[in-house]
Symmetry: C2
Subunit: 337 residues, 2 copies
């Protein structure tokens, strides 16, 4: 009896110890999962497998830290882009703010329709109309003044339906991916069709990506001395469009190295992914597929914003990673956590 | 007597100990001098004082690591530029190499004079002549092909009088300065009028500056699929001239942050230094003044290459740091050590 009881006591102690150890291991494992907002599945597995291959010394696919370049599209890849590109929302807000200084806009399209609240009529003019709106709101001030305008807007403006600040509408799983890559020696860059100076004022705080690692579209600037003080004045003239075939051009111009890891979400990213895939070693090409009409938006081949058609075909044909937002992401936005 | 001898012994021991200590301290100091090729003087002192101010936590001039941006001109600031810009030497060598494929050059200026060895006649055509030489040698191939051409040339070509590889003709004191700044959390950039793709293949190895931190002049490139493989083709069309008022434009475009430390050597760097000086906190502006006709070259106001005239006046008027190569630098080139 006595020895039995002692045996029982010892077993109970052993079981308890085992439980504690087990819980500790599971806890440590959960804590160590670098991508907790990603469901286990092909997308997550392909990311982790790639990172492990290129970072394992002695592996045939090992890539030195200096060459671990990762590029990310922004609109629709790192933050949302519906019901319109957030930078367009910025431009429309600016038109309203500037209207008192431009009485002539009342009779001039696309401004007249915009100020009446008829966005559809305003944008009916297509690219020339958008060009006019962009230039009226993005040019004519110094770079310092524009930076402050963007900072003020981004700190206050809210998304029309989600009622959240735009910088809250970033994708939690992608934030984790950026952190995971950097923890593994990658240098993370944005390569976006959006305006470079529209992104830089907030990308460091929101994504941990400093201004010098942001590539985007731009207008020309001009150096001037104003009262002896040098300024850069933003001109109403396109400098560079960082979209489609422009993305590899922008990557080469700005980074001067080919990425080994690239993520996009639309046909505008197709050439960036092709350029990445054409490197000499292994590479990772990923697309965010917007499939979650409930938590975010669902759109692809026929959408005007973030059209994903040819790039999706190429991704499927070549075995690139396609993230199914609905299935692959536990959480979309940080505020859902 | 006995006590005297003992006293003497003790004193000798004390002196010996003191000597050992003194030597150790001096040795440690010498080892710890981050700029051993700089003579003690105003230039060195102003650099060290600036770096100590911006890196000392709690100092009113403290600058967070992310904002410690340092920009350096290349030609005449990090490496030599006489008797002609090294990139022009590259272009001339390329004309000779390519001549068999261009029989028409025999009767076409500026190529005809060049191939006869008459550089002066070739360059008599001024900028249009230089433009033709540059485009004939820098455009028409893919970015990958051009990179290889530069790598091959830089590995083999030698300076006409110093008989050294061009990458040996970098300034030892500036190499030390780059290392010193990086050790203090600075991100070091090149901002040069030279071709961005001419510098990138070797700046990481020679200066520790990676391709993504090189800003320079460029020609346009175009994305193409060749046999299904994406390439960037270099076009005979100027994209950007990173010189004079172009330097702040290039800095803003590429870095998106204002430098707090900038070094140049010519009037081409004047606006970069003005842009740096106009920041909100303290800043360091430096000029390398070529004063050493014996070890390097002596030239400034009237030189065609690296003209230093207006920027020198501004530096003197505003108290910017002017490095007197002859007096301030113990060693010019690494091979002199």
């Amino acid at each position: 009896m006595k020895s039995n009881r002692a045996y029982f006591r010892v077993s109970r102690l052993a079981a308890l110890t085992l439980c504690v150890l087990l819980l500790a291991v599971v806890g440590a494992y959960a804590q160590n999962d670098p991508l907790p907002s990603w469901n286990d599945g092909k997308a997550k597995q392909s990311i982790v497998a790639f990172v492990e291959k290129v970072t394992m010394e002695g592996s045939p696919d090992f890539v030195p830290v200096a060459e671990r370049i990762a590029t990310f599209d922004n609109d629709g890849t790192l933050w949302a882009e519906q019901p319109m590109y957030f930078q367009l929302a910025f431009a429309l807000d600016r038109v309203k703010t500037l209207a008192p200084q431009h009485p002539e806009w009342k009779d001039k399209e696309p401004f007249a329709s915009l100020l009446k609240g008829d966005l559809k009529a305003a944008l009916a003019g297509g690219e020339p109309a958008i060009f006019q709106i962009v230039m009226a709101t993005h040019a004519g001030m110094t770079t310092g003044e524009f930076e402050q305008i963007v900072k003020d807007w981004i700190a206050t403006a809210k998304h029309p339906t989600k009622k959240r600040h735009y910088t809250e509408m970033v994708y939690q799983p992608m934030l984790e991916l950026l952190t995971y890559l950097r923890a593994n020696g990658f240098k993370t860059f944005i390569v976006s069709g959006g305006g470079i100076e529209f992104m830089r004022p907030w990308t460091e705080k929101v994504y941990g990506i400093p201004p010098e690692q942001v590539v985007g579209s731009s207008i020309k600037t001009k150096f001037e001395l104003r009262d002896g003080k040098p300024v850069l004045v933003r001109l109403a003239e396109i400098n560079f469009i960082d979209d489609k075939t422009g993305k590899p051009v922008g990557i080469n111009q700005h980074i001067g190295r080919r990425p080994i890891f690239a993520f996009g979400n639309s046909d505008g990213d197709q050439q960036m992914l092709e350029w990445t895939a054409a490197g000499s070693g292994i590479s990772f090409m990923g697309l965010v597929h917007h499939t979650d009409a409930e938590r975010e938006w669902a759109y692809d081949r026929t959408s005007h914003i973030g059209t994903l058609d040819k790039a999706l075909d190429e991704a499927l044909a070549k075995g690139w990673t396609v993230v199914d937002m609905k299935k692959d992401w536990k959480v979309i936005f940080p505020f859902e956590k």
